[in-house]
Each structure stands twice: as structure tokens, then as C-alpha cells.
């Protein structure tokens, strides 16, 4: 069950936006479709919703084939039993909050008294119980977002699609909504497909991350796996920060930084080291010497840029020790924290 796409392709004129993707988005999980703009993640979501007509392949939702090019199958949008949160919220401005939330039930032909009851229940769940009769235009961004969520909750579609739902919210609200969506999903147990370009959002929300690039999925996996074991330099740099050491970096310097266990890096590969895996020790033997170029204090941690013989390296450290620009330091990395990645995709 869940959502399957098979050889899904979409081109606009001569531009191939999706290049034959085959993936399964598991039932009752949050699948995050992550990538930079133009990578095909939103197009994938819109093909699943039926808002775009794929030029190749098929889409299956909850075991029902809703779209396929050969044989020709096309289930209209309104019959796909999905719900969706849009980037613009898409709250109907001429309706009240309650009317907005009741539309999915009206569409399904639910009797009137039941509609009122279920709308009230749902608004209580998302914390808008007191706002039922407000005009939708009087709501703040965060409240509109909740109305959009309420519409998904009230319809009993098994699949919820979310297209960059938080990109218009300010940073602190975004973090709060993230937690709320996660909690709601665990309570309702629905299949969620969540599109975002924000890697932090992806890592914190996902059960499985699907990383898109140029119309294809370049890596999928649990957030921690994909973070710790990036398949390529692109993935490493897109997900979180990374220090990249090319294959032609001087071996003795690498040895100073990592020690004898440093992995072998072939041509066309690089070494990837996460900034928080770099330890700052006093300058001395068996370390890579460097000097702090500048320090950015971030409250719970600090980010340093350290100039070394291997080039500038980014280091993130909890604030047990206070350091400042100009300090001479030595850097050290455990061999198991240095990952070999391909330079390509």
C-alpha cells in the first residue's frame, strides 16, 4: 500500500523534468521529497495528485492504479482519495474557517449534522476551535496553515500530500509546525508525502528521505543513514555541512588529521568529514595544525573556520571551551568519521 510510482516521467516540451522514477512511499510513514528547486520533487507530487499529467509511467495510490500512460488510465483528481496542503495554504478566502474545513465532507456527501460535528472535532484537534466562524482572511499565516491541515485531517483520505507547506512561515513557527505535523501523523497514522527544499526540515521530519536531483532520486534512506553515509559528494554537501577533501590532497596531511586508518581515496572520489566530527585539540603531534580565521557564536554551539594546510575547514563544537579568531589549534578526526564519497551524483 502507500504510494507507488513506476517509471514516472514528465516532460514540459523538450525539458525532461522527471526521468523515469520508480519508488515506493511506504504506508503510515512520512516520506520527505527533498531537493533544490527544479529537481522534480514538486512535479512528482503533482503527478501523484493528478494536477499534472505524466508523460510516462504509472501512479498507484493505496493499491489502486490512478494514472498510467500505457495502458491509458486516468482517475480524475477528485476521485483519488488524497488530501493536500499547498505552499500558498490555498485557504478559500470567501469562506469561514468552518466552511473551509467542511468542504471535503460536502464533496463526499456526508449528511449535514455529521459535517458540523466532525468539523468541530477537527478544529479542536488543530487548536482552532474558537475560530470556526472567522473569515479565513482574518487569520495569521500559522492559523491558515492549521486550517489547511484541518482540511486534510477531516477528510479520511489515507494519503496526505504536502507541498512546501511551511516555506511561508517564519523560522520559529516553522519549527513548531514541524513538531505538530509529526505528532499529528503519529496520531492519525496516515501516509504523508512531504516536499521541501529545507534539509533541516527533511532530517527532522522524515521516516525516509528521498533526495532528488535533476529529475531523479539520487539517494533514499532514513535521515541518519543518509546523513552519515552520503552516497556522493552532492548528497553530502546538500544534506548538512561537509568538509570535502579531494583525492589529490597530500597524504601526510591527511595522516596528520586522521591517523593511519585513513581510508583509501581513489581518483574521482573525495573524503567527506562533517564539521561536528572534527575535534579541536591543542596544537601538537598527530594533529593537523591550523589557525581560527573567524568564529561564529550560536548559543549552544560555535562554528569556526580553521585555515589549515588542507584548506579552510569548518568545525562545529559545543561551547565547553571558548575560542576566538587567531587561536592556533590542532584538528583531529576519527577514521570511522571520514567517509569516502563519489564526486559525481
Amino acid at each position: 500500500m502507500g504510494v507507488q510510482i513506476e517509471s514516472l516521467a514528465k516532460s514540459f516540451g523538450a525539458v525532461d523534468v522527471l526521468k523515469s522514477i520508480t519508488q515506493t512511499f511506504a504506508e503510515s510513514e512520512i516520506s520527505v521529497l527533498l531537493g533544490s528547486s527544479g529537481c522534480g520533487k514538486t512535479t512528482t507530487l503533482r503527478c501523484i495528485a493528478g494536477l499534472e499529467r505524466p508523460t510516462g509511467g504509472s501512479v498507484t495510490i493505496s493499491g489502486r492504479r490512478v494514472s498510467s500512460v500505457t495502458p491509458n488510465v486516468w482517475v480524475p483528481i477528485e476521485q483519488r482519495r488524497i488530501s493536500m496542503v499547498f505552499q500558498s495554504y490555498a485557504i478559500w478566502p470567501h469562506m469561514t474557517v468552518a466552511e473551509n474545513v467542511s468542504l471535503p465532507l460536502k464533496a463526499a456527501g456526508v449528511p449535514r449534522p455529521d459535517i458540523a460535528r466532525r468539523v468541530k472535532q477537527t478544529l479542536d484537534i488543530v487548536g482552532l476551535g474558537a475560530m470556526a466562524d472567522r473569515s479565513a482572511t482574518q487569520l495569521s499565516g500559522g492559523q491558515q496553515q492549521r486550517v489547511a491541515l484541518a482540511r486534510c485531517v477531516v477528510s479520511d483520505s489515507p494519503v496526505i500530500l504536502m507541498d512546501e507547506p511551511f516555506s511561508n512561515l517564519d523560522a520559529s513557527l516553522r519549527v513548531a509546525m514541524r513538531a505538530e505535523v509529526k505528532e499529528l501523523q503519529q496520531k492519525l497514522n496516515r501516509t504523508v508525502l512531504f516536499v521541501t527544499h529545507d534539509q533541516e526540515e527533511a532530517l527532522s521530519l522524515a521516516d525516509t528521505v528521498f533526495l532528488f536531483r535533476n529529475g531523479d532520486v539520487v539517494q533514499k534512506g532514513a535521515p541518519r543513514d543518509i546523513y552519515d553515509h552520503p552516497a556522493s559528494r552532492y548528497v553530502a554537501e546538500f544534506l548538512g555541512k561537509a568538509n570535502i577533501l579531494a583525492s589529490d590532497a597530500p597524504a601526510e596531511r591527511i595522516a596528520a588529521l586522521i591517523g593511519d586508518g585513513a581510508p583509501y581515496v581513489a581518483a574521482g572520489q573525495s573524503l567527506c568529514i562533517r564539521p561536528e566530527k572534527v575535534a579541536i585539540v591543542g596544537p601538537g603531534k598527530d594533529t593537523l595544525p591550523g589557525r581560527i580565521e573567524f568564529a561564529m557564536f550560536m548559543g549552544d554551539r560555535s562554528e569556526y573556520r580553521v585555515v589549515t594546510a588542507l584548506g579552510p575547514m569548518t568545525v562545529i563544537e559545543t561551547n565547553l571551551v571558548s575560542r576566538k579568531a587567531g587561536d592556533e589549534v590542532g584538528l583531529r578526526v576519527r577514521a570511522s568519521d571520514a567517509r569516502v564519497v563519489d564526486d559525481g551524483n
Binding site: 480524475p76 493536500m84 500558498s88 468542504l103 482540511r151
Partner: protein
Amino acid sequence: MMATEIHAAGSVTRRLPRPSGTVLLGTLGVIIVCGLIGLPLVAMLGKAVAGNGGWSALVRPMGDFIYWQALGNTIVISGGAAALATLLGTVLAWLFVRTDIFGGRVMEQICQVPIFIPAFVGAVAWVLLAAPRIGILNRIMVWLGLDIRFDIYTPTGMLWVMGIYLAPYVMMIVAAALRSMDPSLEEAAQISGLNKSQTALKVTAPLLAPAIASGAGISFAIALGLFGTPMVLGWSRQVYVLTSRIWMASQTVPQSYDLMATLSIYLLVLSSLAVFVQNRLLKGRQYFTVTGKGFRPRPLELTRWGRWLGGGFAQLYLLLTVVGPIAVLTVAAISSYTWSGQMSAQNLWARLATGDVVQAIRNSLVLSVSASTLGVGLAILFSWILVRSRVPGRGALEYLLLLPISVPGITFGVGVLLFWIAVPLPVYGTSLIIVFAFVGRFMAYAVRSITASLGQIHPELEESARIFGYRPLRTFLAITAPLILPSIITSWLLMFSFCMTELSMVILLYTSNTRTISILVFELWGTGDFSHLAAISLLQVVIGLVFMAIFKLYSSRTSLGH
């Protein structure tokens, strides 16, 4: 507007996938647009060319001096009218927006009234004011013993009447430009060391030039197409313009269709040229509307005298276009015969309560309501196709839909006439042909307004309704239609008021059963019964003003609401 507040999405290009029905809808749309707009224009061109002798037929009238004269008159009078309108409109706009004259805000609204007074009616009023013998101003001069005489039956008189009634168009365009001009542009110039007059010359004027040029172009194009005004003012001294010549060609027996078509093409070329030049002038020079913000620049503080002078100018303008004409029409309408001094409201009622008038009002209402309703309905369909669908050839469709805006009314009327004569369907000679002409010519205004409004509705609002289970039609009725309702209603009102006062197309298409109020006014002018004429004209003014009031009230309510 309500939708734009929360979804101020700029260019909205995302479209729904093409449902199979859209192709059918598109085909139907093409047929309708061709029938209403494309083919009439083709029929006109065809008649002019194929009638006799191919392309050379197009220049044949030019062998006759009277048509050179008509062309010259058209250019001179329209050009003069446009110049006068531009001057008046720009001064008024500047006074209202940038100075502190008394009651500027209110006066600005009132100065839009002339737009709603049919041009033909304004001309009739000015005949009563300034015609050589019956003009009341001349009588006053005689009474005062002054040796000043006015003569409205001259080219100067014609361009005067046209110009003063076209000034509000320029005023509205220039006032909007002045409002959207960021005052910091002028402030920056002053900080950079320019004094006030240098700033006005080097910064304000160039920034304003496109708007003024656009106002001039629009008033020139409208003046070209005017029919009633040059007829009323030019007839007695044989000052004919192209529109008068086209009508005269329709009065010969048999009708000279070839000549009508050829002269219409001249008119079309002139107005296309005006639109083209205006577009060229504006190209890449639209400094305004970039931010879409409204500014309230600090008004220039006039001296006491300045405030009186400025206010007096605006009041004089209103006296000449609204108060004077309405007063003179009223006096004439309630007098037992013109300037008899015997006045009674009885006279007015007696003149209005005839079978002719009642029938004309009924015809006007039926034709205008049908045309506006059909036109707005089609405009909704076409706007949806233009903004939301992926039907190929949308660009051509949009061009064709908006084309009639730059086609003079009488030209369009000739096209409609020739097309339906050639088509073996019982349309020619019925009220249907007038409805088709109205829809074809005026639908463009509705299309422009509704596409703009639809473009402001984020597609996700429709997409989400589909996602949550509404079929396309239900989505349109429950989501799209309510959101674009204000533009639907204002378009309907606008089309209705255009149709109610239309003369230059109906004059070629009506029969004794389909006479409208405008036709009645025109016929009464022909008989020379000025008291009767004044009564019906007054009625048209009242209808115009009522509609302006409804229109203004409605648009202010919708822009204030939400």
C-alpha cells in the same frame, strides 16, 4: 480585493491538465470568436477588395476630392480634440493629485461624469448652447448688447465639444500615474541639487510622459470613431468626417457597401496607427505600476489665489460639460417650444410618455441586458481558457478578443452588417444582429477585466477544491465564480452602459422594430424638434448618471470590503 490579500502571487502560470472537454470548449470558443469578431472584419475587407477591381479598389475613393476632405477633417478634428483633451485632462489631474485646491477629492470624482454622458447628447446640448441662431449663449450676448457670437457648427466647435468630453479619460490615466509615482524619485532629484522647476522638467515630466501620450492616443482613437457628435455639429455646414461619410453611403439607394467598407478600412487604419504609435511610445517606458503601491505625495501648497484659481478651473470645466448642458437640456425639455419661456414639467412628461419612447426604452433595455449577459458569460469562458487552460493558440485568441477595442464602432458595425448579409441565416434585420454587434465590440472590456481578476486567483485555490473532491464545474461555481464576482459585475455594468448609449453601430443595423433610445434621439435631431430631442437626451443623461452611481458605489464597496 479579497483574494489578493492572502495570495498575492505575482504571475500565475500553473495550469490544470487539459481535460478532454476543454478541446471541445476551445473549438466552440474559436467558432464564436470568429463569428462575432473575426469574420465581420474579414467580410469588410473582402467587400472592399473583392467588390470590384481587387486591391486597387482600396484607393478608388481617393480619386474623389470629397473623401480627401473627409479624411483631412477626421485627422484635424480628432487631432485637435485629442490635444484639447490631453491639455485639459493633464491640468485637471495635476490639480487634483498634486495641489491642495478646495475639494479636490470630490471634484475629481465629479469630473468623471462627462464619460457617462453620451457624446451625442453632449453635442445636442452644445447646439442649444452655442448654435448660431438658437444657441442660448448667443441670445445672452445679444441681450447684453455685446458683439460676440459663438458658432458650434464649425470644425473648431466640433473639436471643442469632443475634446471637453474626452478630457476625463486623459485625467484618469494621468491621475493614476501621478498617484503611483514614488515621491522619493522627485525628492532624490532635489537632494541631488535640482531646484523645483528643474525637478519638474527633468524628472516629473519624463516620468509622466508615457501616461500623457497614452491618454492622447486613447482620446484620438475614440474621437476618430465618434459618429453622433460630428453629425450633429457638422451637418448644417457640410463638415463631414469619415464616420459621417460611411453613414451617408449607407443612405443611398442601393446602399454603397463597397464605399462603406473602403472608408471603414481607412478609419481602421487610422485608429490602428494611433494604437500602434501609443504602444511604441509606451514600450519599455512603463515606469509606473512596477511596485503597484499607491503613494500620497505631499501636495503642492498653492497660495490663496492659486487655490481659488485652480478650484475655479475645475468648476468651469464642470459647468461647460455637465451643469450647463444639463441645465440647457432641462429648460428646453420642459419648455412648450424652444426658448418660449413657458415651462412646465407637464411638457417633459408629455414628450417622454409616447409609444415611440416607451418602445425605444424597452428595445434598449432588452438589447443591452441580452448583450451584456451574453457578452459577460462568453468573457468568463474565454478568460478561463486564456488564463487556466493549455489550449494551443491562446495568444491568437487573446489578440482577436481584444482587437475590437481599437476598432471604431461604425467600422465594426459595417463589418457586422456585411457579414450577416452574406450569411444565409435569419440574423440580418433582427435584434439578434444588434446583440451580436454589441457582444463582439464590447466583450473585450469584460475579457480584460475578468482575465485580470482570474489571474489574481491563485490556481492552488481551485486545485485544492479538486483535491478535496469537487468536480471541475462545481469547483468553478463554488470557488472561482465567487472570487471573480466583483469583476463579473463591474464588467456587466460597463457593457450595459456602453450598449445603452451606443449609436454608431446601431445606426447601420436597426430596423423600425429595433429602434433604441440613441436612434430615437438621432431621428429627432433629423426632424429638428429640439424640445423633444432635449427631453429624450435628458433621459439618456439620467440613465448614464444612474449607472455611474451604481458602478461607483459597487466598486467602492468591493474595494473597501474585506
